[in-house]
Each structure stands twice: as structure tokens, then as C-alpha cells.
């Protein structure tokens, strides 16, 4: 707003806003604090906000004693792999629908989105059986395929809204300048769409990293990513609070950082350009 608020009002709203933000953020903060406490201090009553003896021990234990690095690596492979594969299929499709729209393009886009509405449980059983029979069950490749297909409509939609903003005249100019379809995509479209492609990639890595249905249903231990690993963590009954917190912190930190970088693009991306 153009007008300067009175200092008193600004102080009060700042105070209120920070209070609300801290309440929302508190569970994450509490988890991070707990991850640096000893197990005894983590369950101490009354709770200790600032522990007497801070320790990195939990992180060391989690990283060295469990199969944690493998789960972490699985998460990386599955989320990045499914996103890259999805982009490879989606970029040509989004190009076509954005720049060569036909009468049915809109219906096609709606149909693609509608596949997201299909409850995952409805396709779970055949997929579970097919995966079991074909040997895709509990493999990284299987999860890459499943998550790619799950997120493909979102990838296509996001790219579509980004491509839509590139004026068609520029592509026509390239055509007049003698560029083949391939040259047009390599020299003109891709460099112009790079920011959009990057934020689509980031957002889909986040979605895939946090996915917790297919990762639970389609894996046991070998290919399980972090989401399945944490979900199956048996109730620790007060003994492993600090270690559980450390494992959780490591599971969310990479994505939290990526997410903070992409938060400007997040709204646009997830609302398919409807809110900018």
C-alpha cells in the first residue's frame, strides 16, 4: 500500500505476523531442536527447549547404523529420475498444445488433468499385481515409472502455461528465418522457456520426493525411498525420539531448501497459472 502505516500499527502487525508464522513453523523447529538432543533430554518432562548437552550423535548414528544412506539415495534417484523422464515426454506435448492448438486441445488438457482425479487406490491393485509379476515391484525403475505417470499431467500443465506465455510470433519468425522444427525448439523455444522448465522440474522433484502412497504400496525395503522408510518407522515409544527427529530432518531438509528457492514459482506452478 502506498501510504505509510503508523509506526505503532506497523509494530503491532509485525508482532502478530511473526507470532503466527512461528506457531506454524514451530513443529519443524521443534523437530530440528529434538534431533540435536540426547535421547534422555528429548523425552524429558517438563520439555527442555534448550538442551544442556547438544549433540550430533543422532545424525551420526542414523547415517552409519541404519540403511539410511540407501533410502536417501533411492529418494534422489526416484524423484529426479521420474521428473526428467516426465519432462522428456511432456515438453514436446506441451509445445504442441501451446503453439499448435486444435479444436480438441482444451478437452485433451482437461482429460489429462482428470487422470489426476482418479483415486490411486483404484489403479493400485492391478499395478501391484503387474509390478509383482514383471519384477518391477520394489525396484527403483518401477517407482520412477509410477511417479512419472502420476505427475505427468501436472508437468504437462505447468509447461503448457509457461509455453503459452511465449508469443507465437517469435516461433513463426524462426520459421520464416529458415529454422526447422528441431532448430526452432533448440535455439528459440527452449532457451526462452528455460526458467519455466526449471521451476517445473523443481516442483516435480518436490512432489515426487514427498510422495507417500506408491512408495509405500510398491516397495518393501530394497527400493524404498525416505517417505516409505519414515512411514514404516515403528512407534518409537519414547526411546528413539532424537534419532527419529534426526532421520526426519535429513529427509526433509534437501526439499525444504529446494522449496524455499522455488517458492516464487510455486504458486504459479501449482495453480497452473491461474494465480500469479
Amino acid at each position: 500500500m502506498a501510504r505509510a502505516a503508523s509506526p505503532r500499527r506497523k509494530f503491532l502487525t509485525t508482532l502478530a505476523a511473526w507470532a503466527v508464522a512461528l506457531v506454524i513453523f514451530f513443529p519443524v523447529l521443534w523437530m530440528i531442536l529434538t534431533s540435536f538432543k540426547t535421547e534422555a533430554s528429548a523425552v524429558a518432562m517438563p520439555p527442555e527447549f534448550l538442551s544442556a548437552d547438544w549433540t550430533f550423535e543422532n545424525y551420526e548414528t542414523v547415517w552409519s547404523r541404519s540403511d539410511y544412506p540407501r533410502f536417501f539415495w533411492n529418494s534422489v534417484v526416484i524423484s529426479v529420475g521420474s521428473t526428467l523422464l516426465g519432462l522428456a515426454i511432456a515438453i514436446p506435448a506441451a509445445w504442441a498444445m501451446a503453439f499448435v492448438p486444435g479444436k480438441r486441445t482444451k478437452d485433451l488438457l482437461m482429460w489429462m488433468l482428470s487422470t489426476k482425479m482418479m483415486p490411486a487406490v483404484a489403479v493400485m491393485i492391478p499395478l501391484y499385481l503387474v509390478f509383482q509379476r514383471t519384477g518391477l515391484f520394489d525396484t527403483k525403475l518401477g517407482l520412477v515409472l509410477a511417479l512419472m505417470l502420476m505427475n505427468l499431467p501436472i508437468i504437462i500443465w505447468m509447461l503448457y502455461t509457461y509455453f503459452k506465455e511465449i508469443p507465437g510470433e517469435i516461433l513463426e519468425a524462426a520459421r520464416m528465418d529458415g529454422a526447422s522444427l528441431w532448430n526452432e525448439i533448440v535455439y528459440v523455444l527452449t532457451p526462452m522457456a528455460l526458467p519455466g522448465i526449471a521451476s517445473t522440474m523443481l516442483l516435480n522433484i518436490i512432489l515426487a520426493w514427498n510422495e507417500a502412497f506408491w512408495t509405500i504400496v510398491l516397495t518393501t525395503t530394497k527400493a524404498a525411498p525416505l517417505s516409505a522408510f519414515i512411514a514404516s518407522f515403528s512407534a518409537p515409544q519414547g526411546l528413539f525420539y532424537a534419532k527419529l527427529s534426526a532421520a526426519s530432518a535429513m529427509a526433509i531438509l534437501p526439499i525444504l531448501i529446494l522449496g524455499w528457492f522455488s517458492q516464487k514459482q510455486l504458486v504459479r506452478g501449482l495453480t497452473f497459472g491461474a494465480v500469479k
Binding site: 508469443p167 519468425a173 520464416m176
Partner: protein, 332 residues
């Protein structure tokens, strides 16, 4: 060489005939302007020539060769777009060199041609900037530069000046005209602005609803419009049309008199009351409501001391009265 021949070219989008069938020939070296109101099909016609749209039927021949089904890149034409369509991620140099690169020309030859074009267009000191750092007029020149380096057989312009402000537009208009005079290459220029058409064209094609209303030199259209549409479209302010008894006196359904051909003379045959007056200094425009109820515009040279509500008498210059039949066509 840049002779373009359209034969019965038709374009329809689904059920709608945007262009019902046009025959047109454009001679080598000519500056042809397609002019008409928005939605008249002038841009579509240009895009058909460019190859950005397929023709529904008919043929387009460039330099005597059938080009109807050639892709845009193979037609040897260059186009300047309304939005300039510069590649925002490339420097000016790379923008201009892009068509040469696509044609597989050697780096040295590319550089030489870009330098030459930049010199002609006064862009030499901007070659390493991005389009985003240039003014509207400079972007326009880059777009033209990208077109001329290819040495095309014809240039196509799609409303290239509509995004510029009024002063710049006059300047660019002259630059494009001068460019045509020095290159002597065929140019096809689309605009909705009849002033641009009149000042630049060797030949004007007036389009309306996908049909060619008249083809001719600017002065032919001004002096001898073949129908009411052309008469009303060419000339500013617009020609006055009078129907009824006054037209019948001249043996026509409608007569037309341009504002500059109406004189204010005591005892003139048309009496009326002055409404709005616009004083431009060089001219004075008067809106006069005739006693018969019709409103006419008068363009009087210099300053005229009349005010709102004054009574005036007008006389049309007898030789400058255009007569039209009931079908809207000009009577001989």
C-alpha cells in the same frame, strides 16, 4: 526478383470463409500496401503469402514458380512482425545473424552481412545488447535488419509500426520508404492506417471482408474510388455522403464530397449550423449540421472565424462530387 502472383486464393477456417477467393499480382520491386479495417483478412492474406498458413485452394506463385505448398523458409521471403518477434535471449548481433546461421552460412560471411545491415540501420553500437535493452524504434530496426540480411526476394511487413508512438511512426515510415528506394525489392505491407498506405505505397490493395474492393495507386484511390467503401476508407477526414433528394439532383443514390472540397461561400446551396470546430492552425475542421438534417465535415484552409451555433452556407466543388448508384458502385 520478387514477382508474386495469387490466383483464386481461398482460405477458410472451418465453415468461415475468411478469404473467399482473391486474384492479385504484385510486380517485382513494387511497394504494395494491403489496407482495410480490422478483420478484413489482410493479415491472413499476408500469412498465406508467407506460408505460415495453408491455402484452402488456389495457387501462390513466386517468381513464376508455384510456391503454394512450400514451407515458409523455402519461399525466399522475409517478414517483419507486429510485435517484432525478436529472440529475447539473443544479442542483436545473433538475432540478425539467425537466418544466416539457419541457412548454414560461414561465420565470416555472417559477420560481414550483419555489419553491413547494422550500418544501414544505424545499429552498429547496439549489436551486443539484448532486445530488452532497446527502445521500440531500435527493436523495429533490428527486426528489419534480420529481414534484410537474407536478401529475400520480397519483404512482408505485418502492421510493423502499430506499437510505436506517433512521432516515431512518422520517422520509421520514412526509413522504410527510403529502404525500399535503395533496395528496390518487392515489399508487401499490411496496415489498417490509411495514412500509412497513402504515404508509402506504389500500389494500394483495399480489402474488406476478405474481398479486394479496389487496387490502384494512392491518388487513383483518392480521386476515383470505385465504390462507397473505398471512398469512405481513403482520405482523412472521411468523405461526406449525402443521400436522398440532394443526391437525386445529381442522378445518383448517394453523392460523396470530401471535406476539403466543400467551400464556405455566402449564398452557397447548402445551409447549416456550425457544431464542433477544431482549429489545427493550418486547417480548420467544422462539423456542420445541414438544414436537411445531415451532418457534414468541412476542412477549410487556414483559420476560419466561425463559432459554435453560427450559420454558414456551403458549396461543393462541382468537379469533385463523387456519384454512387444504389448498389454502392461509383457511377461513371
Amino acid at each position: 526478383m520478387g514477382k508474386i502472383q495469387l490466383t483464386q486464393v481461398r482460405k477458410s477456417f472451418g465453415e468461415v470463409d475468411v478469404i473467399p477467393g482473391i486474384d492479385l499480382s504484385i510486380e517485382d520491386g513494387e511497394f504494395v500496401v494491403f489496407v482495410g479495417p480490422s478483420g478484413c483478412g489482410k493479415s491472413t492474406l499476408l500469412r498465406l503469402i508467407a506460408g505460415l498458413e495453408d491455402t484452402s485452394s488456389g495457387t501462390i506463385a513466386i517468381d513464376g514458380k508455384d510456391a503454394t505448398h512450400l514451407p515458409p523458409a523455402k519461399r525466399g521471403l522475409a517478414m517483419v512482425f507486429q510485435s517484432y518477434a525478436l529472440y529475447p535471449h539473443m544479442s542483436v548481433r545473433k538475432n540478425i545473424a539467425f537466418p544466416l546461421k539457419m541457412a548454414g552460412m560461414s561465420e565470416a560471411e555472417q559477420a560481414a552481412r550483419v555489419e553491413r545491415a547494422a550500418k544501414v540501420l544505424n545499429l552498429t553500437s547496439y549489436l551486443d545488447r539484448r532486445p530488452g535493452q532497446l527502445s521500440g524504434g531500435q527493436r523495429q530496426r533490428v527486426a528489419i535488419g534480420r529481414a534484410i540480411v537474407r536478401e529475400p526476394s520480397a519483404f512482408l511487413f505485418d502492421e510493423p509500426l502499430s506499437n510505436l508512438d506517433a512521432a516515431l511512426r512518422v520517422g520509421m515510415r520514412q526509413e522504410i520508404t527510403e529502404l525500399h528506394q535503395s533496395l528496390k525489392t518487392t515489399m508487401i505491407y499490411v496496415t489498417h492506417d490509411q495514412v500509412e498506405a497513402m504515404t508509402m505505397a506504389d500500389k494500394i490493395v483495399v480489402l474488406n471482408a476478405g474481398r479486394v474492393e479496389q487496387v490502384g495507386s494512392p491518388l487513383e484511390l483518392y480521386h476515383r474510388p470505385q465504390n462507397l467503401f473505398v471512398a469512405g476508407f481513403i482520405g482523412s477526414p472521411k468523405m461526406n455522403f449525402i443521400e436522398g433528394a440532394e443526391a437525386a439532383k445529381h442522378g445518383a443514390a448517394t453523392i460523396g464530397v470530401r471535406p476539403e472540397h466543400l467551400d464556405i461561400v455566402a449564398g452557397g446551396p447548402w445551409q447549416g449550423t456550425v457544431g464542433l470546430t477544431e482549429h489545427l492552425g493550418s486547417d480548420t475542421y467544422l462539423k456542420v449540421t445541414l438544414d436537411s438534417g445531415e451532418g457534414v465535415t468541412v476542412r477549410a484552409p487556414g483559420e476560419v472565424a466561425v463559432r459554435h451555433g453560427d450559420r454558414v452556407a456551403l458549396a461543393p466543388q462541382a468537379a469533385k462530387i463523387h456519384r454512387f448508384g444504389a448498389d454502392g458502385k461509383a457511377l461513371a
